[in-house]
């Protein structure tokens, strides 16, 4: 590890320590567990949380909703983004829907969705409406950046439509898809948990946060917030790890002398 990496890590660690110190000082000054519990109280709440029986059920429910939203956004945003990139008519048709999705406040979407759907479906629907434009726009813009030279080559060599899609369009769109997926994934966690707070489904991180807030258990609210932060971070790390899989497979194949075709 080089010197600058050590330096960066040291600065990050110092920054965390400063934040924790400020939190401790603030909690001591306020001297009220309801307004601001100390870091120690919060971590105690966190450890008792994760040992409680429905913890995994709450976390898995939120993860399930986030994952389903992500898959729906990725599929519909990706497919419509590609189609719209090639069809100016579809682009114009989707323009008002996109404008509405982008401009509508998250809370309005959640409240309206709660009128229409059950509490378990609202987080998925809300996350879709918020994340879809991000994925869609990235993929649609990616289509515009597909190399015109390679497009012409596939035309000159009479590639079949499916071959053109699989061997030119999708590989060209990988960077846009990754950017769109990453951005929408970060957004999904926030929207899903916000929707759970408002709609209080039976299980979910947001539901637990809401219940803890009603009971003025501030340490528990903060502990669940910590769980949400960890979920987002682990989600991002898993996504990055997933992106490295194809390169690792290629390297492995190259190592064993397998032909990469």
């Amino acid at each position: 590890m080089n010197r600058s990496t050590w330096r960066t890590k040291a600065i990050v660690a110092a920054s965390v320590l400063i934040l924790l110190s400020l939190w401790q000082i603030g909690a001591n000054l306020l001297d009220s567990g309801v307004l601001l519990p100390t870091p120690g109280t919060t971590f105690s709440a966190f450890t008792s949380l994760i040992t409680q029986k429905p913890f995994s059920l709450n976390v898995l429910s939120t993860m399930g909703r986030a994952l389903r939203s992500f898959l729906i956004i990725f599929t519909i945003g990706g497919v419509l983004g590609i189609l719209s990139g090639f069809s100016p008519a579809l682009h114009s048709l989707l323009l008002p829907i996109l404008a509405i999705c982008k401009a509508t406040p998250v809370m309005s979407v959640i409240l309206l969705a709660f009128i229409w759907f059950t509490s378990g479906t609202v987080p998925i629907f809300s996350a879709f409406l918020m994340g879809f434009p991000v994925m869609f726009v990235q993929v649609e813009q990616g289509v515009a950046h597909i190399s015109p030279q390679l497009r012409e080559m596939t035309k000159a060599y009479a590639f079949r439509p499916m071959d053109r899609l699989v061997h030119l369009v999708i590989p060209s769109l990988v960077p846009s898809m990754v950017t769109g997926a990453k951005a929408s994934l970060s957004m999904i966690w926030k929207v899903v948990i916000a929707a759970e707070v408002l709609t209080v489904p039976r299980y979910g991180v947001g539901s637990r946060m809401q219940l803890a807030q009603v009971q003025l258990e501030t340490a528990e609210v903060l502990a669940w917030t910590l769980v949400a932060i960890l979920l987002t971070t682990i989600g991002d790390l898993l996504f990055i790890a997933l992106l490295r899989v194809p390169a690792r497979i290629r390297r492995h194949r190259a190592k064993i002398g397998d032909e990469v075709v």
Partner: protein, 237 residues
């Protein structure tokens, strides 16, 4: 192949630019015809019309017997799919024509061997030099089962040593399989060494100024010969 009264114009901003205005020419089957002309005269447009990448405003392209079917195309750049291996780049263009993957792979490997890249089939294009990438493009064009080949200044970006080695690689493959080849270049000496017929073109709207039939076999051609010096002088005039 007969090019009959081709017309083509483009709208550039608000002005209509006439590139071809009744262009006609007969191209001998199984020969290399080089089009030589100043930059921007419309050589590439003509090639794109022949290759059906664009359609003429008027006129027609009549193919001779045996010239039907697809065109092998060599562009100015190699235009390889960067995420695929060398062999996959060649094999992919064969998919509409050969159902059996083994046949496609064998054909791709054969042509890659002919251009001396048999040891690089698993490499990706970014792992190859510029000359090697262009050799892959040559292998792809020849592996493609068309009887007509279109070349759009494919060696112009290479240094002179590499250029002549590419020309040699191309001619070796071409001599083994004489396809009707239309070749666009602004390099007169390259055209004189490669082509059976050199067509000198005017600036826009493009028309034929002169046509030179070169009878000397390729292996005996030398740019220092009086005949070639005279041709070069005529082409540069």
């Amino acid at each position: 192949m007969k090019l009959v009264s081709l017309h083509k114009s483009y709208l550039v901003e608000t002005k209509r630019v006439q590139v071809l205005d009744g262009f006609s020419l007969d191209i001998h089957p199984g020969s290399i015809t080089a089009f030589v002309g100043p930059s921007g005269c419309g050589k590439t447009t003509l090639l794109r019309l022949i290759g059906s990448l664009e359609t003429p405003d008027e006129g027609s392209i009549i193919k001779e017997e045996g010239e039907d079917g697809p065109f092998g195309y060599l562009f100015q750049e190699p235009r390889l799919l960067p995420w695929h291996s060398v062999v996959a780049n060649v094999e992919l263009v064969l998919r509409p024509w050969y159902r059996d993957r083994t046949v496609r792979m064998q054909r791709a490997m054969d042509f890659l061997q002919m251009v001396g890249l048999q040891d690089y089939v698993g490499f990706r294009p970014d792992q190859l030099s510029g000359g090697m990438r262009q050799r892959v493009a040559i292998a792809r064009a020849f592996a493609y089962p068309g009887r007509t080949m279109l070349l759009d200044e494919p060696f112009q970006s290479l240094d002179s040593h590499l250029r002549w080695s590419m020309v040699k690689a191309f001619l070796t493959l071409w001599e083994a399989d004489r396809r009707t080849t239309v070749y666009v270049t602004h390099d007169v000496s390259e055209a004189l060494l490669m082509a059976d017929t050199v067509v000198r073109l005017s600036p826009r709207p493009m028309r034929v100024l002169d046509t030179y039939e070169i009878g000397t076999p390729r292996e005996h051609r030398s740019l220092g010969d009086p005949e070639f010096l005279e041709l070069q002088r005529a082409c540069y005039t």
